[in-house]
């Protein structure tokens, strides 16, 4: 008799332990995202597709110092520098990046480039939808990476839910 009670009690404890997580989770907000039906939620420091920043005057922050390219372990950043002139001023400093490419077929999103950048020109955005049918399309040119200017109204850069398909 005693052994039946003991057995029952033991089973109950085991079941309780087993289902505890299930029951608690049942009443929590789900973590999984219903992507692509619903927007993805990012952590603020998520390392997605890069964004090349501009300063408050709309000039490019990148001065083509090549430090990001030097830091990049995947060797996927390609830059060509050029000198700013009075009638063609692209960045605030003496030089700017005439060409700035990131090859996303190689980028490992380590963030070293962002860390290396002395002018905070390169940052990680929250874009992640990179898959194309053609591998060449994975090389993003400067024009695609740059923050749009003038900044589009009413689309604050999301650190909270971002709409599906938005790359930044």
């Amino acid at each position: 008799m005693a052994s039946v009670v003991k057995e029952f009690f033991r089973t109950f404890v085991i079941l309780y332990k087993g289902f505890k997580v299930t029951f608690i989770t049942m009443f929590k907000k789900p973590t999984t995202e219903n992507y692509p039906a619903e927007p993805v939620h990012f952590q603020a420091r998520y390392r997605g597709i890069h964004v090349l920043q501009r300063d408050e005057n709309g000039l490019e922050k990148c001065v083509a110092c090549f430090l990001c390219a030097a830091a990049c372990p995947a060797n996927c950043i390609y830059i060509e520098a050029a000198e700013n002139t009075a009638d063609n001023r692209i960045s605030d400093a003496d030089r700017y990046a005439k060409v700035y490419n990131i090859d996303y077929s190689r980028c490992i999103f380590c963030g070293y480039c962002v860390e290396a950048c002395p002018t905070d020109a390169i940052t990680h955005g929250h874009g992640f939808e990179l898959a194309p049918y053609d591998i060449n399309a994975m090389i993003y040119r400067k024009e695609k990476l740059l923050e749009p200017w003038p900044p589009p109204k009413a689309t604050p850069r999301p650190s909270t839910p971002s709409p599906v398909g938005a790359t930044r």
């Binding site: 110092c65 430090l67 060509e80 520098a81 050029a82 003496d94 030089r95």
Partner: protein
């Protein structure tokens, strides 16, 4: 130079006992012992400045720290370069240096190879106690190729000293005082100078930057190729910095080779001809009166067919070949083989810019110890310069002469027509009428010749002074030729000490073309064509007998072409129409076929029937021989996009013509294989291949087996193009960066040599 016995002294550095020659600076002794003493302003070969105080060391029994760059090691001295006091001093000095230095590293051209960056990193100065605002000045453009950014300048005065002492131009000075000091150029904010770029190269930081390189890339992004300069005959070693198959910079990065850090304006900035828009990039064949693009196959086939046709109808004597002062030794050698065995003619010549053959013939078996190297100029006790404006025509030679005078108190003796900048360094200078240099030499050798009492009086003194010198290097230009060279050697060998000679030519491989026997009457290594043994030897090697009759020279060839006696002319990397002043309005009248291998539409190429685009010196492998006979390897630093090397073109053509029954096919496929054949067969070229492969130079001392007292050459065959610092024959026209300087347009030395303070003496 004979090594003078020097006393050794011993002193202690960081507890290490060092034994060095008396008079050695502590900083040099430390370098040799592998102990680092940081420095900015100290630069070997320049006057001591002691401006930066980075090199402070502690000397026992001295109260204050001393600058190692001015401290002469003394017997028994005890020096410490690794004490807390020294470390603190270094940090403090760097803090001072950085007072006004902007945080420009990300955009500065020097970033990555900057001495200040390295020091700051090594000596760990990561903060500053200065809170004052940094001084700021706008960047200055001193010339199209020299820019100055004052805030970055750390006032080490290396630029001032190299321009003053090394270049003897004195275009830079120091303005204002204390922290507001800046470097100022000589002409109210502008430079009027030789535009050598030495100041840019020597600047430890990014204060002086080059207009041709600035803001294009960063040092770690480029590939580096050590090769030799494509311009003058001095053969400076240079490093080409390459990114994306484009040359972005030329400097002798590791300061190795015959020229150390030296490069002149042409070597440093004259590399952009490679990408000039006017470059011919595909074969052109004349059809219906105009040159039209053709495929390689068609062009080569056309040349082979028409050469064969001309050969069969008019005979080998109606064929002619003009070689180049720029192509590599292997190419000149191949061209020689092509002319003598494929075409079967001795009508082969080139524009002789110096009488190398004359010197080799006059020296004969003595050539081995009698040809001077660039280094021996600096080591000589006396230098004789005859009929050459070395500053303009042979910049490295002039640099070496100045170094000899500055460091070793060598005596410079000049015989020249008109004023020369080098007269500032001269112990004696004899001004002779233009063209009389040869006669002056004749007078030195024989004591006869009509030169006028004044000149002979001066030459008398000249001779007396030279008789006392131990170690003499004689440099001479194109106006000393034929018999005059023989006289010069006669005079030189009569001197009491060691005498060496250097014939000064114009272009990067002038000497090589001569050594490879691009002459109507000489085979490779200056072997006389009249020597049946030599003919037999070369004929055997090249698979076909060489005709015994000497060919006609370049001028005669051009004349014969006009008269219709020459039917086919093959020109490689030369512009004979311009060089020999041939008048031919639109076509060379008598020629059936004119083939030109070149980079650009020269006057000669415009009249060609077929043009094959050729690769430049920077786009091919091979060897060049400088005017001193020093052989150097050139390497393919960039790919020629379209053109092919003269080597390949000749190789293919030799093959094609062999198939048509002209000459023998060749087994060699690469320049290396041909170099091997040259090393084994050309007299004087049996040099160490290891020396060449490791980026060094090896001296070739080609000369015929026996001196030939009867050798002479017509005055109109050996002549210099008189290029100056900003011209480089036909090639110079396509160096746009070089031509953007105002000196290249105004040429101050040619119009009024005495009014230009920086130029005249």
């Amino acid at each position: 130079m004979a090594e003078t016995e020097t006393k050794l002294i011993s002193f202690t550095l960081n507890g290490q006992k060092l034994s060095v020659p008396a008079g050695t600076l502590v900083i040099e002794a430390a370098k040799q012992a592998g102990i680092e003493v940081p420095s900015f302003c100290y630069y070997p070969g320049l006057a001591l400045q002691a401006a930066c105080r980075m090199c402070l060391v502690e000397v026992e029994k001295q109260r204050k720290l001393a600058t190692a760059c001015t401290l002469v090691a003394e017997d028994g001295m005890v020096v410490h370069a690794d004490t807390p006091a020294v470390h603190k001093a270094r940090k403090d000095m760097l803090e001072f240096v950085l007072t006004n230095h902007p945080l420009d590293c990300p955009v500065c051209d020097k970033g990555g190879e900057c001495e200040l960056q390295d020091m700051t990193f090594t000596y760990g100065i990561d903060h500053s106690r200065f809170i004052e605002e940094k001084l700021h000045y706008p960047e200055e453009k001193w010339s199209p190729i020299v820019f100055y950014d004052a805030p970055r300048c750390i006032l080490c005065f290396r630029c001032v000293r190299v321009c003053d002492e090394g270049m003897d131009v004195k275009a830079l000075g120091v303005g204002a005082r204390g922290v507001t000091s800046v470097i100022i150029p000589n002409e109210s904010g502008q430079l009027a100078c030789e535009e050598c770029g030495m100041c840019i190269d020597i600047c430890p930081v990014g204060a002086l930057t080059s207009g041709t390189y600035r803001y294009q890339t960063r040092p770690w992004e480029m590939k580096y190729f050590g090769t030799a300069c494509a311009h003058c005959s001095n053969g400076c070693k240079t490093t080409l910095s390459i990114r994306n198959n484009e040359i972005l910079r030329a400097n002798n990065r590791d300061h190795s080779g015959i020229n150390g850090e030296f490069l002149c304006a042409k070597g440093r900035f004259g590399y952009d001809f490679t990408t000039n828009a006017e470059r011919i990039r595909q074969p052109l064949v004349r059809k219906g009166g105009t040159l039209q693009p053709a495929s390689w196959e068609d062009a080569i086939e056309e040349i082979a067919r028409r050469l064969k046709q001309a050969h069969d109808t008019h005979g080998a004597a109606a064929m002619g070949v003009i070689g180049s002062n720029h192509i590599t030794n292997e190419e000149s050698y191949l061209l020689n083989r092509f002319a003598r065995t494929t075409l079967g003619t001795n009508n082969i010549d080139h524009h002789r810019t110096a009488d190398y053959a004359g010197l080799a013939t006059a020296l004969g078996s003595k050539a081995k110890d009698s040809m001077a190297t660039m280094a021996q100029i600096e080591g000589a006790s006396a230098i004789v310069l005859i009929a050459n404006d070395a500053t303009q025509q042979n910049p490295l030679v002039a640099w070496q002469i100045r170094a000899a005078v500055r460091h070793h108190a060598a005596h410079l003796y000049i015989i020249h027509a008109g004023p020369l900048k080098l007269q500032r360094q001269a112990a004696q200078s004899v001004d002779v009428p233009a063209g009389a240099e040869g006669r002056a030499v004749g007078w030195l050798a024989t004591g006869s010749g009509d030169l006028g009492g004044k000149i002979t009086g001066e030459l008398e003194k000249f001779k007396e002074a030279l008789a006392k010198e131990k170690d003499v290097v004689i440099l001479f230009g194109a106006n000393v030729r034929g018999a005059a060279v023989r006289n010069l050697v006669k005079f030189g060998s009569g001197l009491s000490g060691q005498t060496r000679y250097m014939s000064l030519g114009d272009y990067s491989n002038s000497r090589g073309a001569a050594d490879m026997g691009v002459f109507p009457d000489r085979l490779p290594g200056y072997a006389p064509l009249s020597d049946a043994n030599e003919r037999g030897r070369w004929g055997k090697l090249w698979g076909k007998e060489i005709p015994p009759k000497p060919g006609v020279n370049a001028r005669q060839m051009m004349q014969a072409a006009l008269e219709g006696k020459l039917k086919a002319l093959y020109v490689v990397g030369a512009n004979p129409l311009k060089t020999f002043g041939v008048k031919a309005p639109d076509k060379i009248a008598g020629l059936d076929l004119l083939v030109v291998q070149d980079m650009f539409m020269t006057e000669t190429a415009q009249r060609a029937d077929v043009i094959l685009p050729a690769a430049s010196t920077y786009e091919k492998d091979g060897t060049l021989t400088n005017t001193a006979g020093e052989i150097q390897m050139v390497r393919r630093a960039v790919d020629a996009q379209g053109p092919r090397s003269d080597f390949d073109l000749l190789r293919i053509l030799i093959h094609q013509l062999a198939q048509l029954g002209l000459g023998a096919a060749m087994k060699h496929r690469t320049p290396e294989a041909v170099l091997e054949e040259i090393r084994q067969n050309v007299r004087g070229y049996d040099v160490s291949i290891a020396g060449l492969l490791t980026g060094g130079t090896e001296q070739a001392t080609s000369a015929p087996a026996a001196a030939d007292g009867s050798y002479d050459v017509a005055a109109d065959l050996v002549f210099s193009s008189q290029d100056d610092l900003f011209t480089s024959g036909t090639l110079g026209r396509y160096c746009s960066k070089l031509n953007s300087t105002k000196e290249s347009k105004e040429r101050p030395w040619s119009s009024s040599p005495t009014t230009q303070s920086w130029w005249s003496r």
